[in-house]
């Protein structure tokens, strides 16, 4: 059951938005509407839904309507037409009081330029949301301190915003949004004003916080790298409309249109593709088999390493051809010659985190799922191939005939 459900949401700016929004239904383009009626289409019949606990990224270039869209969700901008349901509650039909209640309890917002109140201390800033709910000081102060602690600024509670760096200010912005414990966080280009290193720290911190808090986050950004890093799903916007919604992989691997393709072509694939995308089928052998069988298998498949597993395909270690032939000569069981500290990775590990491991390991790197079963093997050639754009499922124009021998 989605927590946010948006259908045909439209915002037209101008003197007679209702009439103009009907023209969109007749297939008028944004440009034609502007040229012929002087109305600006901010958001054009957008539909999507967000599941609880999801980080839903809305991405687009400036002017694509993403900031307008996020403000429609809490009606900082009034929608022209369409429907917004949050927790089953139709937001567009709420009266002023009910809308305030939703903003106080359910949805908080983090702003691009932090928007901290300069005349209030950090603590008073973070308390603001509870203060407008008329919570007594004794109740709101501990909650505000708790929120400041979450972002690591509890010792600066009595400082003023202008005494802080940008990154710290945005932590306060985040703490302020978290203090009234909303279900949904709207983050409007929240990290865009920060310099790149701080931005990455903040992304990591957000992901850490999200692990424990499980909020539903709608995150606006114009930065594809950021979208790919933190988004569970990404909606790509152009001219006020959504052109594609999907997981980062789906968008990278199957761009829905030329626009999306152009958008993603410069992206560093190593930050998107995971071990699961580039792994090959592993050759395995049961631990109870003999060394001669192992040698035979290697010869048949033309490889120099085998993964040794137990009966339920749980990885025990890796076997090299030299060790196997040595063991075959001396009649040793596989038990004695298997290399047990073979390097392994989880399927979800990103390629850029794999480079070092794959580069330095003498034996192929096994991909092991959470139950300990081997699901694949990473070979150097496949990683490099993927970075060159040869992703399985995407267009493969060279033939990727690597073997597990690496």
């Amino acid at each position: 059951m989605p927590i946010i459900e948006v259908k045909d949401l439209t915002k037209v700016f101008g003197e007679d938005p209702k009439r103009i929004s009907a023209l969109l239904g007749q297939g008028w383009s944004k440009d034609r509407i502007f040229n012929e009626t002087k109305h600006t289409v901010g958001v054009n019949r957008v539909s999507f839904s967000v599941e609880p606990g999801e980080i839903f990224v809305i991405m687009g270039l400036s002017g694509s309507g993403k900031s307008t869209l996020v403000r429609l969700l809490n009606r900082l901008i009034e929608p022209t037409s369409g429907m917004i349901e949050i927790d089953g509650q139709e937001i567009t039909r709420l009266g002023a009081d009910q809308l305030r209640t939703v903003r106080q309890k359910k949805i908080s917002m983090v702003f691009q330029k932090f928007a901290l109140f300069p005349h209030r201390t950090l603590l008073e800033n973070v308390e603001y949301g509870l203060e407008v709910q008329k919570a007594p000081k004794a109740e709101r102060e501990p909650k505000a301190r708790e929120a400041l602690k979450l972002v690591g600024l509890e010792t600066r509670a009595d400082s003023y915003p202008d005494e802080l760096s940008g990154g710290m200010q945005q932590r306060v912005g985040l703490a302020r949004a978290l203090a009234n414990d909303p279900d949904i966080l709207l983050m409007d280009e929240a990290f865009s004003a920060l310099d790149p290193l701080i931005r990455k720290d903040m992304q990591d911190e957000l992901l850490d916080l999200q692990d424990t808090m499980k909020k539903t986050i709608v995150f606006i950004t114009h930065d594809l790298d950021e979208a790919l890093r933190i988004g569970d799903r990404i909606a790509l916007m152009k001219d006020g409309a959504i052109v594609q919604i999907g997981t980062p992989e789906e968008i990278m691997v199957n761009p829905a249109s030329e626009y999306v393709e152009r958008f993603v072509e410069d992206v560093d694939l190593s930050k998107v593709l995971t071990a699961a995308h580039v792994m090959r089928r592993p050759e395995t052998i049961g631990i109870d088999r003999g060394a001669r069988v192992a040698l035979q298998l290697m010869r048949e498949s033309g490889i120099s390493n085998l993964f040794v597993t137990d009966r339920s395909r749980r990885l025990i270690g890796v076997l090299t051809a030299e060790d196997a032939s040595e063991a075959a000569r001396r009649g040793l069981p596989l038990e004695d010659i298997v290399i047990r500290d073979a390097p392994t990775v989880a399927p979800g590990v990103l390629l850029n985190e794999l480079f070092e491991l794959v580069g330095s390991s003498k034996v192929p790197v096994a991909v092991v799922n959470e139950t300990g079963r081997i699901v694949g093997v990473i070979v150097r050639g496949a990683v490099l191939g993927a970075l060159a754009g040869h992703v399985p499922g995407r267009e493969v124009d060279g033939d990727a005939s690597e073997t597990t021998a690496g």
Binding site: L99, R100, R103, S108, F111, V132
Partner: protein, 281 residues
């Protein structure tokens, strides 16, 4: 040729009507203003001049640099020495009353202007009118309504001095950055909460600049107010002018200048001083 519009007749008729039918409103206003001026004047005369001078110098010391405290000490002592102390305090009472009335009227009107474009469109030309119409003209209906004395002086001063407070309150609130207003909205603030917790505190420097201007304009009205019988240093200037006594005129004028500088610097620094105190606290 068109016949002349009987504009003067219309205005006279309106003034007559107000005087005859709104007496029940005008009388309590007059009583209130008179009481305020007398009350403030009483307080200002409570201490002997020397004690008062030291007290005001201490106030200057508290909010400003030592140079300003020294200026206050020397300046006020000079006023006392020239023999204008009592009249200066009468004038101060008149100016403070005008300023207080202006603030009480001006800030709410300024807030109303900031919240509604329509209100602003109606109020702005009225303010322009009030500031450009020669101040002497206000004296006539003020005297009609409130007779001679300090009350019409205060009324004329308020009309002349209130526009900056209204304008700068309006401007101060409108200048609060849009993202802060949006942030306040996004947390579900009511319009009143937004005003009190975000907009007004951030508009304080601008509002204080307006109040400062209002006090200066009220002070500039004291000589004009003396034409209709308001007592104080303004009356001394007026007398000097009518008797062509340059020396006396200079003395009385100097007293007004010293008072003006003191009030101007003090109101300018009240905000900054308060801010720094907050930070330290």
């Amino acid at each position: 040729m068109l016949p002349k519009l009987p504009l003067d007749k219309w205005v006279d008729a309106a003034v007559d009507w107000i005087e005859s039918s709104l007496g029940f409103v005008l009388d309590p206003i007059a009583a209130g203003i008179e009481g305020a001026v007398e009350g403030i004047s009483y307080v200002l005369h409570l201490l002997p001049a020397l004690a008062m001078i030291v007290l005001l110098a201490a106030l200057a010391w508290r909010f400003m640099r030592w140079k300003m405290a020294l200026f206050t000490l020397v300046g006020l002592f000079l006023i006392d020495n020239l023999g204008y102390w009592d009249h200066t305090m009468d004038t101060l009472a008149l100016v403070l009353t005008s300023a207080i009335v202006s603030i009480v009227i001006g800030i709410p009107i300024g807030i109303a202007c900031a919240r509604s474009k329509r209100t602003q469109q109606i109020v702005t030309p009225i303010l322009d009118f009030m500031q450009t119409m020669p101040a002497f003209v206000y004296l006539i209906p003020a005297v009609t309504f409130f007779n001679l004395g300090v009350v019409p002086g205060v009324i004329a001063s308020v009309i002349f001095a209130v526009p900056p407070t209204i304008r700068l309150t309006n401007l101060g609130i409108r200048q609060v950055p849009a993202d802060l207003v949006e942030a306040a909205d996004s947390f579900g603030s009511t319009p009143a909460q937004k005003l009190v917790k975000v907009q007004l505190p951030l508009a304080v420097p601008s509002i204080m600049a307006g109040i400062n201007q209002t006090i200066m304009l009220a002070l500039s009205m004291v000589v004009i107010a003396s034409l209709i019988g308001a007592q104080g240093i303004g009356a001394d200037v007026y007398r000097a002018v009518s008797q062509i006594k340059t020396g006396k005129g200079f003395e009385a004028g100097l007293a007004i200048v010293i008072l003006a500088i003191f009030l101007d610097r003090l109101t300018q620094h009240l905000v900054k001083g308060k801010r720094q105190a907050d930070r330290r606290g």
